[in-house]
């Protein structure tokens, strides 16, 4: 088995100032900034280590503010660890926020193209898939209209459709398992499950505990920046449930 993601003793802190200082405050308080005091930090992750093997689906559960999303951002590489090491050996397809790169004034087609390239394909590769993407999203004629004219359901359907057509090798999911109305929810959920069950490495953050039990091969319970439990999804979910009740 080869390791796709390796997190070793990762710590991450955020500055806790409510308002970031302006330039004036910065100059005035320069001496203070030089020796910043450690109380003004919030530690989101406190020494987290784990590995994800190829083909695994890892579920991450925990209360709000436990560090789940920070962990995903670290794996994605948009956030650097304060201490420790994160290594990832596959192309990542993030499903953290649908339509993150969409611009309301561009048409659906233009947005699909830009989003596809942002998510890791070349322009030609997106062009080859654009038919499938549009067909899956069931947007049909609206595809050549600016996305600001879309209903929120249409918007999500198109964004979801782009994301799952990206040939993901390592999929990071933050709460997005299904979108749209009931018919499309079923369809999108099935498409995603097919990808995951088909042996794609996945890291899934969710509050939907039954989904974690159903989909994941392993689970981690994060609590205040520590790993509280790790192992079989059933067991981890039970421990977590015991804790919150």
């Amino acid at each position: 088995m080869n390791c796709v993601v390796e997190i070793s003793d990762v710590w991450k802190r955020f500055p806790m100032r409510r308002d970031r200082p302006g330039f004036k405050e910065f100059i005035v308080n320069l001496p203070k900034f030089a020796k910043r005091n450690s109380n003004s930090y919030f530690w989101a992750l406190k020494g987290v280590s784990f590995k994800v093997e190829k083909g695994e689906c890892l579920g991450i559960i925990g209360e709000n503010g436990a560090g789940k999303s920070t962990l995903l951002s670290l794996i994605l590489g948009n956030v650097f660890p304060t201490r420790g090491r994160v290594s990832v050996s596959e192309k990542i397809t993030p499903l953290l926020e649908l339509g993150a790169g969409f611009h309301p004034d561009l048409t659906g087609r233009e947005n699909v193209l830009i989003n596809g390239v942002l998510l890791g394909l070349t322009k030609n590769e997106v062009m080859e898939k654009i038919g499938d993407i549009i067909a899956f999203s069931e947007i049909s004629d609206f595809i050549n209209l600016p996305v600001r004219t879309y209903s929120s359901g249409m918007y999500l359907r198109l964004a979801f459709s782009v994301a799952i057509h990206m040939d993901p090798k390592l999929l990071l999911i933050d709460e997005i398992l299904a979108v749209g109305d009931e018919t499309f929810q079923k369809k999108s959920r099935e498409a995603l499950l097919r990808l995951i069950k088909g042996g794609m490495t996945t890291i899934l953050v969710s509050h939907n505990l039954s989904a974690i039990k159903e989909i994941c091969t392993r689970a981690i319970w994060l609590d205040e920046g520590f790993i509280k439990a790790e192992g079989e999804p059933e067991e981890v979910v039970e421990k977590y449930k015991g804790h919150i009740e």
Binding site: F14, P15, R20, P21, G22, F23, K24, F26, S73, L76, G77, N78, V79, F80, I92, P94, L96, E97, A100, G101, H103, D105, L106, E110, L113, I114, V117, L118, L119, G120, L121, T122, K123
Partner: protein, 262 residues
């Protein structure tokens, strides 16, 4: 900021596509819901030229032939520079969603802004060529040599400055206001609406310290009199490299903690 050396690798093609699409987005979005579209990019400097012409040639009676051409030859390059600066100040903080949720080279946001403004500059070239035929010596062989060089220099200096200010602006939003003042100050402190030799000797040092002086003068010499001053070009090139290295340094250094402040 890694540079791909294998020009045919998939990753290189993807990055090229990405930069192309982001630039296209920049250009199309700017005028998407306007009536005159891309012509606004020409109208802006032309109207400014008109105003400056009225103020300085008609009201203040500056003694100079071809003052309109004199203004245009400097205003188009200046416009590329100043619009890039102003627009890229918010390029990072205006794309929080992209930066937080998708992984891609962040400096592309700044490069595409500058490239978008560069397209406007290209659109302006025919106007300059027209003026050159009527009021100057006409475009000569020097143009083919000099235009790419000057473009490269201006790209270099603009990229350096834009990288730095877009990143600093994420930490101190004051940058946005500061840039507004600094850009208009630079406008008057660069020989755009007046020639360098009109400035009294004792104050000329201030302008000589401004690296834009050489670049703008080099553009104007080329457009108006088909001349290449290698001294000017050399100084602009040297200072542009300094700006680029500082810009890259600041962008990379502060970029590591961008997620904490944005």
């Amino acid at each position: 900021m890694e540079i791909g050396f294998n020009l045919n690798s998939r990753e290189f093609r993807r990055k090229r596509d990405l930069l192309w699409l982001l630039t296209k987005k920049e250009v199309t979005l700017k005028y998407k819901r306007t009536f005159l579209g891309i012509f606004w990019s020409l109208l802006n400097p032309i109207l400014l030229t008109l105003i400056l012409f009225i103020a300085f040639k008609i009201f203040m009676r500056i003694q100079m032939e071809n003052y309109t051409f004199f203004l245009l030859a400097a205003l188009f390059p200046w416009n590329w520079f100043s619009a890039s600066i102003t627009m890229s100040t918010g390029a990072l903080i205006g794309n929080v969603n992209l930066i937080k949720k998708i992984r891609f080279p962040r400096h592309f946001l700044i490069l595409s802004t500058i490239l978008g403004q560069f397209v406007n500059f290209i659109f302006a070239l025919p106007i300059i060529i027209g003026f050159s035929y009527f009021y100057g010596k006409g475009p000569g062989i020097n143009w083919f040599l000099s235009i790419p060089i000057l473009m490269a220099i201006q790209f270099t200096v603009t990229i350096g400055i834009c990288l730095a200010i877009s990143m600093v602006n994420a930490y101190f939003r004051d940058m946005e206001y500061l840039i507004g003042v600094v850009v208009s100050m630079l406008f008057w402190m660069t020989p755009i609406i007046y020639p360098l030799n009109i400035v009294p000797e004792e104050y000329r040092t201030f302008l000589i310290l401004n690296p834009l002086t050489y670049l703008i003068t080099a553009w104007r010499d080329l457009f108006m009199s088909n001349a290449i001053d290698w001294g000017n070009i050399g100084i602009s090139f040297g200072s542009s490299l300094i700006f680029l290295f500082c810009g890259i340094f600041i962008f990379q250094r502060l970029g590591k903690r961008l997620d904490e402040v944005i």
